[in-house]
Symmetry: C2
Subunit: 422 residues, 2 copies
């Protein structure tokens, strides 16, 4: 029986009852003979409440002090969880990110983990204790200041500790049963996936699946730490995310799932002179404004005019910054006008199996066409096809694609990757 | 212009408005040319709310994890205060007790400070920043675990930092204007004291005055750090607590004030055989039960019976433990019965001047007698007289004594110590 890292999100420890329920689960794992390290997020809405308080004080709270503030949230949940465990019998000790040896760079509010030195955790485990660690936080290598890891930080803490402690598995407990072939709120027929390779999970996470963040999956892939995503409420087996087994069940496994994302906006730069350097000028402007873009499409130039249109998508929250930055260079770059559209949806089909299965793209487009969904942009990778549609069409589009690839739960054609979790 | 340590209690930083008001005061001090270190408590009721949460989880929360939990409170107030200051212009950095170098023993929930190594604070000041430090918390020398200092801990943090940084003064901001000659809620004529020697403040604090705790005053006296107790709301000059100036205004300064305390209970051990070793047996029992007693009085033995009564006072919260412990040794010690009374009040008259002024005791007792207040126990030190009365008599008794010693605010006879703050 090896070491298990478990991570519980804020909804699992939202109140005293939740904390006690989680404590029982942890104690059961310990009693089954495992060494247990637990990473915990702040209780329920604590972090949002702290952000609200900070905004009453300072218009744009950032930096060192903001991180100091936010890390109070996990301090509360982790110590309460340790008390709840001790109350059931086993010894438990809680550790801040700094005490747990989570060393980061100095980028406050979005720090990256650069090393994990879990000496105190190892020592607590050696004494037979359960170690509780604050997620989402670390300490900067240079300044010794407290840092936070940004969105999805607690999952990353869990995977990083699992790697540093050579854990057998990193269990991510959440309020759903695992990874689904599509968002069950849009697709009632969506099916829980039993196992999925790192690569597919990365694409799903990067393109709208909320269960895991791409950053955490990327970390797990690099150190080959299997992740088990499961519900802290039901206790059922969830989804294993891991390395594709050699040989594997490649033939039968085509598609892992359908992701959708309505958080992006589309910017179209209209009437760009179709000559070398024009696109570069546009994207240099965007990069200089520190904005991350997602899909980029340039339409074929209309021969008669010598002008072309360039479209890209980016988070809605960055939309106005992009427009502002581009307006400033309109004269220099020489485009005609800008169009901004934040009523779009991105639908992505993901599956390593599509590499070797011709016809996936055709089936995908046919499904959308049969559902009467218009496609505005297309972008592909080796294991993914994404399209942009009207936001209003998103549910219809996801259901149509889900069904066309036999993912519906009453379908014969199961989508499974053999190996790890079955 | 030297270094000033300022301490703000929970009521001063109870909400965003309070934090902004405190920030303005701090910035004013900085702009006046001082280096400023600020010690801050948790916002308003935060600590009580955390204790409630802990009690939902575990019946008697204690130890390491409880300290980890409680220290989240100051983490929130200190980072918000730093943000509020930065928002006004000056640089500010917040530090946990551990980061500020507050080193303690390992007694969780009531740790004692054993060293202060404020290297990071000094370095922040050298960079021109205002340093904000979490009160009430430290880090244990042996285990490197987070500790809390117990009741009045933030005041002690402030004084300890002032000593370690060689501050010019430690300003304790609170919700009253300073130290009064009596509790203004009982005595409307009570007068603010301009200056008071450490010794008198120690006696007042030890016998019921709530403004400062004896522990903090003791620390200040040991390192000779003047304390300025003042209001964070009015900004008026408050009370200076310091070393009695040499020569000083001793002649005119007889009495510093009248303290009262209704938090104690009286235990009377009735019918103790009047022979050597009996009292020792009783107080060994109390000591073994880890109870602190305050006043002790043994009445003269009635010659006819050879029996005597021994009375003592102790905190009401420890009353039942004392009775239980004594019942167990009733046979061995051989007393007749126990009486327990928790409707008592202690009234204490404090003043270094009483050493050289005969008649103070007589005036004190006459005042109580004229007010019709019965005295149940008497205990004295060189600069204090305390009596126990009925709890119902406390207001009447304090007013009578206050008036008899010319402390009322319309009185001619001002009670002042020369020097420091005038």
């Amino acid at each position: 029986m090896g070491l298990v890292v478990q991570k519980y999100g804020g909804s699992s420890v939202a109140d005293a009852e939740g904390i006690k329920r989680v404590a029982r689960r942890i104690v059961d794992t310990k009693k089954a003979g495992h060494e247990v390290v637990v990473v915990v997020s702040a209780m329920g809405d604590t972090t949002d409440e702290l952000i609200d308080l900070a905004q009453e004080i300072s218009p744009i709270p950032t930096g060192r002090e903001f991180d100091m503030l936010l890390t109070a949230g996990e301090r509360i949940s982790m110590s309460l969880l340790a008390m709840a465990i001790k109350n059931l019998g086993p010894e438990a000790m809680s550790f801040t990110g700094s005490q747990a040896g989570v060393i980061t760079d100095s980028s406050h509010n979005k720090a990256r983990i650069i090393d994990v030195t879990p000496g105190r955790i190892r020592s607590a485990l050696d004494q037979g204790a359960i170690a509780i660690v604050a997620g989402f936080q670390g300490v900067s290598q240079d300044s010794k200041d407290i840092t936070t890891l940004g969105r999805g930080g607690s999952d990353t803490t869990a995977v990083a500790l699992a790697a540093a402690l050579d854990a057998e598995v990193c269990e991510i407990y959440t309020d759903v049963d695992g990874v689904f072939t599509a968002d069950p709120r849009l697709v009632p027929m969506a099916r829980k996936v039993d196992a999925i390779p790192f690569e597919d999970m990365l694409e799903l996470a990067a393109h709208g699946s909320k269960v895991l963040l791409d950053r955490c999956v990327e970390y797990a892939r690099r150190y080959d730490i299997p992740i088990h995503v499961r519900s802290s409420f039901s206790g059922k087996r969830g989804t294993w995310v891991g390395k594709l087994p050699e040989g594997g069940a490649m033939e039968q496994a085509i598609i892992s799932g359908v992701a959708h994302d309505t958080s992006e906006a589309k910017v179209t730069v209209v009437g760009v002179p179709d000559k070398p350097g024009e696109a570069a000028g546009i994207f240099r402007t965007i990069a200089d404004a520190d904005l991350n873009i997602d899909m980029v499409v340039q339409n074929v130039s209309a021969a008669s005019t010598g002008l072309t249109d360039i479209s890209f998508t980016l988070p809605k929250t960055d939309g106005h910054k992009a427009i502002e930055a581009l307006r400033k260079v309109q004269g220099a770059v020489g485009f005609e006008t800008l169009r901004y559209d934040d009523h779009i949806a991105k639908i992505s089909l993901v599956g390593a199996g599509m590499r070797t299965n011709p016809g996936v793209t055709a089936t995908f487009f046919e499904a959308l066409s049969n559902a009467g969904v218009n496609i505005e942009l297309i972008s592909t990778s080796e294991i993914r096809i994404s399209v942009v549609t009207r936001e209003d069409d998103v549910a219809e589009a996801v259901r149509a694609v889900h069904s066309a690839f036999g993912l519906d739960s009453d379908s014969e054609e199961a989508v499974v990757y053999g190996g790890t979790g079955r």
